[in-house]
């Protein structure tokens, strides 16, 4: 009986609008676990206790706000995780389950990582950035040069590209210049990296790298067919080319010295659409000849989701002199783009155990 008396008392207080804290007593005491269970919707099958917590919260606005915030956290986390849980399971995980012996890990990682790594030396200092002129977050000029590169693409892919040395010789003079041009695709192919494989680009001290994965647009039907470094109006970038039955999408990623982000802008020109935005240390432009605006937006969303939180890393591995010799000693800020393994390519032969 004491329980119902106490409830009645509390109820009267509520009605009277005197929202003082109910004195915890006996079974009526609302514990922290009650509050958590309420936030986590674990009281759905205990209406009495749920009602008790609700009365408690009605009297304590601050606590109610806290519990509502917990609920919002759960919901936001669930939304954030939805893409991961819905993504197709990579074959290597199913393979791991199919076999008795452990898979050759390094190799598996390498094949699946699809890491396009962009490394930028920081000899010009963190803030002496290339992005100064567009520090307001505008990506218009980047979009324009991406567009013009896209138009020229058939030519540039056919061209025999010059060597890195030649580009360095041609453009390496100015301290703030980026002096690297297009490299042959097979040149990139020789630099296949996994995340463990950062070593080949760590020959320069004080390097800051922007580590990204080539976005997987497979869900939209696009497959990655090419990745190369390109020069857009004298600024280095990485171009990822995706194709789907005659439709072509190019994604341009350009590292920058700043961390901000910006809204997505759309530019249209002669049947081509560019969506461009800033995403942390990357300026991004997505160029397509597709005409479906919603489909293009969906691609951009996928790219954004994949590239969410590009990491700035300072590779810590030892210098690799062989790269030094090949590319020459760097003097100014410089970009090195490193190719990715393509899922559509034949996978490298297993060196140890067969994968299946």
């Amino acid at each position: 009986m004491t329980k119902s008396v106490s409830l009645m008392r509390r109820f009267r207080r509520l009605l009277a609008g005197t929202a003082e804290a109910p004195t915890p007593a006996g079974e009526d005491a609302v514990t922290e676990l009650d509050l958590l269970a309420y936030a986590d919707r674990r009281l759905e099958d205990d209406p009495a206790r749920r009602a008790l917590v609700e009365r408690h919260l009605a009297a304590q606005p601050e606590q109610a706000e806290r519990i509502a915030a917990f609920q919002a956290q759960n919901e936001a986390l669930t939304r954030a995780g939805a893409a991961w849980v819905e993504a197709p399971v990579p074959p290597r995980l199913l393979a791991a389950l199919a076999q008795e012996k452990p898979a050759p890990r390094r190799l598996a990682t390498q094949a699946a990582a699809m890491a396009a790594l962009v490394a930028v030396s920081a000899s010009a200092g963190w803030h002496a950035g290339i992005e100064r002129s567009t520090g307001d977050g505008s990506t218009g000029s980047f979009a324009a040069s991406a567009l013009s590169d896209y138009r020229q693409q058939p030519d540039t892919t056919a061209q025999a590209p010059a060597t890195a040395q030649a580009h360095r010789a041609a453009g390496g003079a100015g301290a703030g210049d980026f002096a690297i041009g297009t490299l042959p695709a097979n040149d990139l192919g020789s630099q296949v990296l996994s995340r463990q494989g950062l070593a080949p680009v760590t020959w320069l001290r004080r390097r800051i790298a922007v580590e990204v994965e080539a976005p997987d647009l497979g869900a939209e039907g696009f497959s990655l067919v090419e990745s190369r470094r390109v020069e857009l109006k004298g600024t280095p970038a990485v171009r990822l080319l995706y194709q789907r039955a005659g439709e072509r999408v190019s994604l341009y990623l350009r590292p920058r010295w700043e961390e901000g982000a910006g809204p997505v802008a759309r530019t249209e020109s002669d049947g081509l659409t560019v969506l461009h935005w800033l995403d942390g240390p990357l300026a991004i432009a997505l160029v397509t000849d597709g005409t479906d605006g919603e489909a293009t937006a969906a691609l951009a969303r996928r790219v954004h989701r994949t590239l969410a939180r590009p990491q700035l890393v300072e590779p810590s591995a030892e210098p690799d002199r062989s790269q030094d010799a090949r590319l020459g000693a760097p003097s100014g800020p410089e970009l090195l783009s490193l190719g990715e393994t393509l899922s559509s390519q034949p996978q490298p032969a297993a060196q140890t155990e067969p994968a299946l």
Binding site: E32, L33, L36, A37, A39, D40, R42, R66, A69, F70, A72, Q73, N74, A76, L77, R79, A80, G81, W84, V85, A87, V89, P90, R92, L93, L94, A96, L97, A98, E100, A103, R105, A108, T109, A112, A113, A115, G137, S194, R195, I208, E259, A261, G262, P263, V264, L278, D279, G280, P281, A297, R301, H304, R305, A308, R309, Q311, L312, V313, E314
Partner: protein, 177 residues
């Protein structure tokens, strides 16, 4: 290998998407998350005779994965540098007229600023739907400890993240603290 083993593999395979989600949140990077899941699956196969002592298959797998994660020190927070700290101060990306799911990356990011044991507690309860008892068993802790990790973790997460940060339609350059 008998039919039992095949059935077990089938059961384990069904958990892979959930293990991946958990791992992605914990390590913050898809490739390394998949490495972690792969380790977990391989370990589970090798130790499959053990799982029935540990409650449900699901909680056993999550327990394996978390242990491997802690043992390997895969967390970004372990190799945090000044540069990473700068990356922490990232700005939320505004996507006008697009679905809100694009912006919720922020909450995953904020979560990773918490100690790992708190992250795990929040994920198991809030995302993976474990009961308090199961989650406590997965983490090998008493219920009281689970409760305090949830409370402290969520209070801390409140300080780093709130839904308004994602819902506001002010243009860019809003610091997420």
């Amino acid at each position: 290998m008998g039919g039992d083993a095949e059935d077990l593999k089938w059961l384990i395979a069904r958990e892979i998407p959930h293990l991946r989600r958990y791992a992605c949140f914990l390590v913050g990077d898809r490739a390394r998350a998949d490495d972690l899941v792969q380790d977990c699956l391989e370990r589970a196969l090798r130790k499959r005779h053990l799982w029935k002592r540990h409650g449900t298959l699901r909680s056993w797998l999550f327990r394996l994965l978390y242990r491997l994660h802690i043992d390997a020190g895969r967390s970004l927070s372990r190799r945090r540098t000044a540069t990473d700290a700068a990356a922490d101060a990232q700005v939320s990306v505004q996507w006008p007229d697009q679905e809100p799911s694009l912006q919720v990356g922020d909450v995953a990011f904020a979560l990773r600023r918490l100690p790992e044991d708190q992250q795990a507690a929040i994920l198991l309860i809030g995302v993976e739907g474990f009961s308090y008892e199961e989650a406590a068993r997965v983490l090998d802790i008493p219920i009281g400890t689970l409760r305090s990790r949830l409370s402290r973790g969520r209070d801390a997460l409140r300080a780093h993240w709130s839904p308004e940060l994602e819902e506001s339609d002010r243009p860019a350059l809003r610091r997420v603290k």
